[in-house]
Structure formats: structure tokens, C-alpha cells
Chain length 410, copies 2
């Protein structure tokens, strides 16, 4: 007998039948003798419909009013799920974010949770009720309704699990778990039974954004044991916990990749203090996210600077750099689009310095040229031509024996 | 410069264009130098759609969860209207029922307002903002979300106008005001410029339920000056105030009517104390509303009892009476359906005892038989055959000279 927090995303509660299906998942946990808190998102495309209405009214809808509007989405889901639970004989009560005591900073559209007044939820649990909480939303000390931004419902669930000291926080989604790589690309991709928080952070873009990085960070900070599971298929998912307990001998746990990468190179920058700072402050101010950065000194006190961006940001980036050419003092810009990033991830890497070399070796042996490299304690990222991305993933998946453990197959 | 509370119903905010139209109405009041509080209902058929979803989930949806669900409807409208106001340069802020301090009893689905904590709304008014409040909803002392039941948004508006001591409460609706009778039936029907609260209560079923009786009662108790106006057409509506200031000389102010009436007669009841009480307690317990009641003594210590009900309740009424025949000790039941109620209304009646007689005279001269009669201080109701209803209304409208004043024509 324990306390389980379950979180169901928009797809899992997309219609009345699916809400009934979720009620059965809750019932199963309850019948197993557990207390249950359920966190839900807005149904299916509800949020998109509301956003469209707002944009029809105003080109730049007020952020406070946007939060007022969007939070109705989860409020609909919590009430319907509570009804569905009653209908199968489970005593349940729904709470909006503010009713569940979800206190946030006074920032609309992207507030952070600062505290949870847990008493109300605990009282209802003590009465034997399932508590259904609206994800994604909170309230400021001034009594203003806020939203938590992208991945907000995951964060709500993890934060509630942390404050309530839940035994487990199950994130139900439309995939069955976290995979060694994307099973749609690599047929031998395998579901991982367990990954560490850090690995999960690095693998975040595997499996179509299974879990929001912010929620993973929160879980890590408060040591909340997570499990990513499918709301459609009844099978074991992937546990995310402090130290991955399985497959400790495997150095590389997964291969992440993404396409749509462009490399920008600024030629002939002055090699003086403050150059890098000027460039990246300028880009950040213009909401351009930079990923890998490589700086190389050349002759005559000059340097070249390469960095990778999403190809969608190419036009904006060139515009900003061109408009500030005088200030930045570079000689020319080179760009190369049609690139992709392929990364190997694994917390065992930190004690295995040869892993990066092995990766480069595998890629070279397969005729895949490396455009850029970046390393962290648990990840090595390479930028390659998009045409060679899938081949790179496949041969790395093979070389690091990711399809060969006793784990569940995809 | 004063304070105006404006209320817009579901039809008036039925789509994005209409919400923009409402914003212009608010702007006009604001530009005239007034402070403005706007109360809105859920958009168009939103409530029906939500109710349908709930019924799909559960045959008997939990009432608390139903309130949780339905209150999202107005929350959508307040945020969109606030955005629409911003878009035309009016500073505005939206509040849910609980944010506006609307405290209610702990009854779901049909709560009464017990207090309004007005400080938050007043602070925003003092900052020059238009405050947009969700109608129909409130919060209990325990922090539970409630709804006010039918006509709830009207009540929200009137209650806010009362507590804020507003100079006027304008109820915008889909008719242009209150008429001497239904203009769809009688072409000479005329819009009244002013009626008293009591007259409005009696005329409530004129003009497709312009204003909920509960809101009128509230307005009467707190002397809130109301005005019923069209949200589509820019013209003067009907004022509802303590003493109707116009047309004081007119004894009859309007003719109300409704069809679908059935008369039930219980023959041979024992003429003993408690008989009436037993019957009407029984009907009330079974949610059957009784309108006109006529008791007549017969020979041998017995009596007959007639009462009118809505024809929709006929089956239930017969079932209840039959199931309790032994207890009630009547001999037989007679029913007559296909009836209608026609009433003349006017606060001047109380000092004009000949009005009822005149009404009966007019009906008799036009060959209209009267099945039942009931009188109050400001109303005389008659039950007639449905086929003669419109004729009755027309000849009464004519006889009491209702089309002949200087008021605005329909």
C-alpha cells in the first residue's frame, strides 16, 4: 500500500472513451490498495482550439487572459474524469490548480511552482478519495491564475509526487517507454527498463518528447521515482531514477538524433575579450537558440567561430548578424544547412574516456564525416550530413550493442 | 460619471464577432466617462455541449463535478472579452466567480449568493480598468466552485450592482425590451419604457424569459435600477425600477400568456384538516409545480379540488395521485388538457377593484369561456382553451388600450 501519482497527457484523455479508459487505469491502482492522485492535461486539441480563438480576437492576446482561457481546458478534463470514476464506483474529487494549492511565481504563460499547499489533497486522500488535479496550472500569492508553460502537466505531477512523498510518479503517454533510439527509424531499437535522471534529460528528444526536461529536473532534485508508461497498452514502461539499476555495464544507453540543423561560421573575428559574449547575447536577445559552439584561432590575432542552430532560425540569425556586422567586426559569414545531430548518451561514459574515440571511429569506418563535436560528462554529440543521419544512428546502435541486452523489445 | 454593471447573455457572446461587438458596447459606456463592470455568460451553446459530454460519461453526473465542468464556460468568455477590450485599447481584467469574491452557500447546481467580497473588483475599478466577471458562478467558504442555477448570470450582475452601489444594471439580451405582450403574437404590442419590479416579476414569461425572476427579486430587495436592452440593436430598452415612472395612469401594463396547461380535478375529497397539505406536499416532493388552485365544497362533508399544472407533468401527476389514492381518499380524478393561461398585469390594479370584472367581461363578450381564475394584487390570471388564447390576448390588449400610449413601438 503506497501513494501513486499518475499523469495522463492530452492524447490519453482525448475523448470520452479514453477518459473512461483512464478511469480504469486509476481503478487498477486503487484496487491494488494504493492511494492515487491523478494529474491530467486538457483533452486532445482543446488547447489549440482555445489558442486559435484568442488569436482570432487579438493578434497579441494578453498573457494573463491567455492563462485564464487555457486553464479551462484541464478543468473540463478533471471534472469529466471524476465523473467517470464515480461511474465505476470510485470515490473521487477534482481540484483545479489553485484548489490543489499549486502556488507559482507571478509570471503568466510560464510560471514556476514555488510551493504546494498540500493539506487539501491530503485530507481527501485520507478520506479514501482519488484526487484528480488539473495539470499545467497554478495560482500566484495575489490570487491570479497562471500556467506552467510547456510540459507543465508533467511538472505538476512530479511536484505533487515530491511534496506528497509519493512512492511512484507514473507518466502515461502515447509511447510505451524510453527507447535506445527511435524505433520508427531503427528496427532493433529496444525499450529501456531503467534510465537515470541525467540520461533521461539527454535523451529527452527521443520517442517524440516523452517527458519534459523541466519535469525530469524537478524529479531529480526531489528524487521522485518516475515511470514512463503507455496509456493504451498494458505493459511495463521505463523507470527513471537516481541510479539506473539495470544494465550498469552498458556505457552507452541510447542514441538521440535530430535533423534540421544549420552550421553558421563567422570568419575573421577579432580575437579580443568580449567577442563571444557580444555575439551570443545578441542572438539570445533575438530568441535564437544556439547549440554546439566551436571557436578556433587563426593567424594574425583573428579567430573563426562556428555554431549550430535550428535551420528554422537561419533567416533570423543571418538578419541579426548582418545588421550588427560593424559592431561584431567579422569578415564574412559561411552557412551550411541540411545537417543533423547524432548523440550517444550514457552515465557510464564519465568513467570510460575511450567512448568518444570509439564513436568517431565507428562513424569514420562507415564513411560518415563529422562537421562538429561537443561533449558532456554523459553525452557525445556530433553534427553530420542529414543524408547520413539514419545510417549513423544504426551503426552506433549496433556498435554499442544496444539491441543485445535482455530488455523488452519494442 | 457613474458605475454601470452590464450583463451579456450567451447569445450576445455567441461567437468571436459578437464578443467584439460586446467590447464596443463596453467601450461606449467607458467613453461616456463611466466605470464599467461586465458580467458574461458562457458562449452560445457551450453549456449544452458540456452537459452532453457529462451525460455521455455518466447517466447521473455528480453535481459538484458538474459545477466544476460548467464554470469553464464563463471563464472562456471572460478571457476572450478581456482580450477583445485590450484589442480596442480598453484596459480590462477578467475575474472568475471566486476571484470576484462571489460567496455562495454550499449547494451545487443551484447555490444562492450569501456575500460578495467586493474589494478586488473595486481596486481594479479604481485603477481605471473594466472588470469582466464570470456570471453564474461562485465559491463556498470551503473553497468549492458552485453555480447559481437558472438565470444565474442575471443574478450575478444584479448582486454585483447592489454591493457596488451601481448607478444602473443593464441586462443585454436578444430582445429590445419588455413588451405589453408578445409582439410575435400581437402586432400592436408595444415596448414599455418602464415597469416596476413587481410587474416585471409577473411579466417574466413575456418576451421569451427576458430576465430571471430571481434576479428581479434581488434587484427589488436592493433597489437596483435595471434596464433590459438589446445587444444587437442600439435603442432604449425597458427600465425596471421601484415605481414605474411612466404611464402611471395605465392600470394594466401587460398581458402575459402561456400554453401547455392542464387542469386536474380531484372529486370527493374528505373535507378535513390536512387534506390540501397532504396533496400539495406529495406533489412538491415529486417536483410537480402547481399553479392555480381552486377548492370547492360539495354536499356531505366532501369537497372537489382543481389545480393547474404544466401538461408535461400530467403523467407524473396522475402516477403520484393514483399511487396514493388510499391515503388521499378521493373518489375520482378528472383531467382537462389543451388549456392556456392568460394574465393581465399592472401595479395600478390594487387600487382599481373593477379591473378583474372588466377582464371577465371582455372575455365573455368575445365568446371565451373561463376555466379557472386566480388573482393577486397586481395580476389576474384566467385559464382558457388553448384555441382561444391568442384571441383572448388580442382583445384584452385592445380593451386595456395597451397599444395606444406614446411609448416606442415594437
Amino acid at each position: 500500500m503506497g501513494l501513486i501519482v499518475q499523469k495522463f497527457g492530452g492524447t490519453s484523455v482525448g475523448n470520452v472513451d479514453r477518459i473512461r479508459n483512464v478511469a480504469k487505469r486509476v481503478q487498477a491502482e486503487k484496487n491494488a490498495g494504493n492511494d492515487v492522485v491523478v494529474v491530467v492535461s486538457a483533452m486532445g486539441k482543446t488547447t489549440d482550439v482555445l489558442v486559435d480563438m484568442a488569436r482570432e480576437i487579438s493578434a497579441f492576446p494578453n498573457k494573463r487572459e491567455m492563462d485564464m482561457l487555457l486553464t479551462t481546458g484541464e478543468q473540463v478534463t478533471i471534472s469529466l474524469l471524476a465523473m467517470a470514476l464515480h461511474d465505476i464506483g470510485i470515490d473521487a474529487i477534482s481540484y483545479t490548480g489553485w484548489q490543489a494549492g499549486m502556488k507559482t511565481e507571478s509570471v503568466f504563460g510560464n510560471a514556476r511552482i514555488i510551493d504546494i499547499e498540500k493539506e487539501r489533497v491530503q485530507e481527501q486522500l485520507a478520506l479514501g478519495k482519488v484526487v484528480v488535479v488539473a495539470g499545467f496550472q497554478g495560482i500566484t500569492v495575489e490570487g491570479e491564475i497562471t500556467t506552467l508553460g510547456r510540459g507543465g502537466s508533467d511538472t505538476t505531477a512530479v511536484a505533487l509526487a515530491a511534496i506528497l512523498k509519493a512512492d511512484r510518479c507514473d507518466i502515461y503517454t502515447d509511447v510505451t517507454g524510453v527507447f535506445t533510439t527511435d524505433p520508427r527509424c531503427v528496427s532493433t531499437a529496444r525499450k529501456l527498463l531503467s534510465v537515470s535522471y541525467d540520461e533521461m534529460l539527454e535523451l529527452a528528444n527521443l520517442g517524440a518528447g516523452v517527458l519534459h526536461p523541466r519535469a525530469v529536473e524537478f524529479a531529480k532534485n526531489y528524487s521522485v521515482p518516475l515511470e514512463v508508461r503507455s496509456s493504451m497498452v498494458m505493459e511495463q514502461g521505463t523507470r527513471i531514477e537516481e541510479e539506473a539499476t539495470m544494465e550498469q555495464n552498458l556505457v552507452v544507453r541510447g542514441i538521440a538524433f535530430e535533423d534540421g540543423i544549420t552550421r553558421i561560421t563567422l570568419i575573421g573575428l577579432p580575437h579580443i575579450v568580449g567577442t563571444l559574449s557580444s555575439i551570443f547575447t545578441l542572438l539570445a536577445k533575438n530568441h535564437i537558440n544556439v547549440d554546439i559552439i566551436i571557436q578556433s584561432a587563426t593567424s594574425a590575432g583573428q579567430m573563426n567561430l562556428s555554431f549550430s542552430i535550428k535551420s528554422d532560425d537561419l533567416k533570423d540569425t543571418i538578419d541579426v548578424l548582418t545588421a550588427n556586422k560593424e559592431q561584431l567586426q567579422y569578415e564574412s559569414i559561411e552557412t551550411e544547412s541540411g545537417l543533423a545531430k547524432v548523440s550517444i548518451v550514457g552515465s557510464g561514459m564519465v568513467s570510460n574516456p575511450g567512448v568518444a574515440a570509439e564513436m568517431f571511429d565507428v562513424l569514420a569506418n562507415n564513411g560518415i564525416g563529422i562537421k562538429m563535436v561537443s561533449t558532456s560528462e554523459i553525452k557525445v554529440s556530433t553534427v553530420v550530413e542529414f543524408e547520413k543521419m539514419v545510417k549513423a544512428v544504426e551503426c552506433l546502435h549496433e556498435a554499442f550493442q544496444l539491441s543485445e541486452t535482455t530488455d523488452v523489445k519494442a
